[in-house]
């Protein structure tokens, strides 16, 4: 214990002997650590937005379908259990949020144009928090119930179709007998979304209205359930599996959108690679600093050994010095990172590359996300790898011969 205190004091004082070198090294470590955390926060922010946007389009963390629906999203692949039965079971389960929907491909046509879209028959009361539609971003009004006869479409689609709130459009799809199911709707509302593709691809109508149009009675195509954290949906998944009948399939979001699922995994891997690469770039400077420190102090190290300090203590002294350097650098780097991310919390505007971000599946405003796990990861990696990088100079110092060290003349 006493020895450790001596070593700590010696290491600390030695650190500030060559303060210029220490400052340069601290600057390098701080910049490195800042970059590790800053870049990670941006990346995580992007992934987080992508997943959240993706989930709000999918939507939900866990979905229930007819087993064939994913391959063939058709009105014939309905969930056998009637909607009333589903409501009874899911309503009693105490989920954060859930909804049942009819979701089928359809064609929407105005007098001028026609487009292929995904038609969603929904219960508007159940969908709050589940879809990307936010009330204050709807011109006109949102649906007011399951039997609403209006339709809500995206801004981009409205432009293409040259239609607007109050005008009429025609929806064409097929019923289970492959007869054309066709019906006129009045545009009740036009919504804006984060992602241009949402505005083009999704249209919303009352669930009962759509069920009537498709002649499917009380049946739906999907049930979606939202949990608390998209990174942890296994519990939710099991709970949903217990609720449903045998003839359906339950999927987690990353199974449905494999691009997003992979993205999440690749980015987690990327964070580690990035931290290690930065560390390697730093390690040359770190080792250099330690080697020079040992080189300059050959004589006093010899002296300490002559006075009875064990080689292991000499080793400890160099390692402690290195750790002190790293800990201070980490502290400054962490503070810098938090300080630089804080003002960006309200979002970074990337609208100049909006369509490029859309291609990646991300929105054009990036909200950096500082996650404790990532900060801990960066710090721990730097400390552990830093320790190993310091071993060689420390070892070299402990192998010095006191006699050579002392009698060296210069």
């Amino acid at each position: 214990m006493n020895t450790l205190r001596v070593l700590l004091m010696l290491a600390w004082r030695n650190l500030w002997r060559n303060h210029r070198r220490t400052f340069i090294m601290l600057a390098a470590i701080s910049v490195g650590v800042w970059a590790m955390i800053f870049m990670t926060a941006l990346t995580q922010g992007m992934v987080n937005d992508m997943v959240n946007d993706g989930i709000s389009a999918l939507p939900g963390h866990v979905q229930v379908h007819h087993p064939a629906y994913r391959d063939d999203p058709n009105v014939n692949n309905l969930i056998a259990t009637p909607d009333t039965e589903i409501s009874a079971r899911f309503g009693a389960a105490g989920f954060r949020q859930w909804a049942s929907r009819v979701k089928v491909p359809a064609v929407i046509a105005s007098e001028r144009e026609a487009r292929g879209v995904t038609l969603l028959g929904i219960d508007p009361d159940r969908e709050r928090g589940l879809t990307f539609i936010v009330d204050d971003r709807v011109e006109g009004r949102f649906l007011d119930g399951v039997s609403d006869t209006g339709i809500v479409i995206g801004r981009k689609l409205a432009n293409t179709l040259e239609t607007d709130v109050g005008k009429r459009v025609v929806i064409m799809s097929q019923d289970p007998n492959n007869d054309i199911a066709e019906r006129g709707f009045r545009v009740a509302g036009v919504f804006d979304a984060n992602m241009p593709s949402f505005e083009e691809n999704y249209v919303f109508a009352g669930k009962q209205t759509v069920q009537k149009l498709l002649k499917i009675g009380q049946r739906v195509t999907e049930i979606v359930v939202l949990g608390d954290d998209y990174r942890d949906v296994d519990g939710l998944y099991r709970k949903v599996e217990e609720l449903v009948d045998e003839d359906v399939i339950v999927n987690r979001w990353f199974e449905l959108d494999t691009y997003l699922g992979t993205m999440l995994r690749v980015m987690d891997g990327f964070v580690l690679v990035w931290v290690v690469v930065i560390f390697l770039a730093l390690s040359f400077g770190l080792v250099n600093t330690l080697v020079m420190a040992v080189f300059e102090r050959v004589r006093e190290i010899g002296l300490m050994m002559a006075l009875g300090m064990k080689p292991s203590s000499i080793r400890g002294q160099i390692l402690i010095e290195s750790m002190l350097l790293l800990v201070i650098g980490l502290a400054i780097g962490n503070v810098l990172a938090v300080a630089s991310i804080e003002p960006l919390r309200s979002g970074i505007d990337l609208s100049i590359v909006a369509e490029g971000m859309a291609m990646m599946g991300a929105a054009s405003v990036l909200y950096p996300q500082l996650r404790m796990e990532d900060v801990v990861l960066a710090n721990v990696v730097v400390l552990i790898l830093g320790f190993f990088a310091s071993l060689s100079p420390a070892w070299r110092a402990s192998r010095l011969e006191p006699i050579e060290a002392i009698t060296r003349v210069d």
Binding site: N2, L10, G308, M309, S313
Partner: protein
């Protein structure tokens, strides 16, 4: 029991392509409480002998004993422990750890030994006073003169009451007045604490001072005389 015993010790160095016999079948015994001066011309082997006794250098053959321990076969850590507990060193120059103050330098050995803070403080104060450095406790080596630094080194060498103090040219960088003072200090400590002193030097004034003078040449003892202090 003798404080130091060397039996038939040999040590050869390579200097460039030339082999130098620093110690040539040398044997010597130094009694506990002795005060011995080793003298030789430059390269005569006195520093080599001193380093062998202190366990800083390993002889090629022969035996080196400190009290009842044979040290030429010890490992590095064991040697470090031995030095820590039994031997005090004073070197020619560069004696102090630059980042530590005078007091901390004196306390260094005790601290590594694991002595309590109160005891350390008491002894370091006492010894710095004894070597005449009261009031300079908080200076760093760079803020002291060569003589002052040497006295700090002496204080450090004896602070933990070693049984043996080894000094290599302790007066080489000092003026005559300071060097006389240092030798007086050594003598006083020798009589007061019965500490064994072995001093390597070619300083005539030092040689005149000591009870036993050992002259060396080419790694051999050529003269070993008891004398009385002038």
């Amino acid at each position: 029991m003798a404080a130091v015993r060397c039996i038939d010790v040999c040590k050869t160095y390579l200097q460039g392509n030339q082999e130098i016999r620093a110690l040539d079948h040398l044997s010597i015994e130094i009694e506990a409480g002795g005060f011995v001066c080793l003298s030789s011309p430059s390269g005569g082997g006195k520093t080599t002998l001193l380093n062998a006794i202190g366990g800083l250098d390993r002889p090629d053959s022969g035996e080196v004993w400190i009290e009842d321990q044979r040290i030429d076969t010890m490992g590095k850590s064991e040697l470090a422990d031995l030095r820590l507990r039994k031997i005090g060193f004073v070197f020619q120059a560069y004696n102090l750890i630059p980042v530590l103050t005078a007091r901390e330098n004196v306390e260094f050995v005790m601290q590594v030994q694991g002595r309590k803070a109160a005891e350390r403080r008491e002894r370091s104060t006492e010894l710095l006073e004894e070597v005449g450095l009261a009031g300079l406790e908080d200076r760093r080596p760079a803020q002291m003169s060569g003589g002052q630094q040497q006295r700090v080194a002496v204080a450090r060498a004896i602070v933990s009451r070693p049984t043996l103090v080894l000094a290599d040219e302790p007066t080489a960088n000092l003026d005559s007045k300071t060097s006389d003072g240092l030798m007086d200090l050594f003598e006083e400590l020798n009589t007061k604490h019965e500490t064994t002193f072995v001093i390597a030097t070619h300083d005539q004034r030092v040689m005149a001072h000591v009870p036993r003078l050992v002259r060396m040449l080419d790694g051999r003892i050529v003269d070993d005389i008891e004398q009385h202090a002038a």
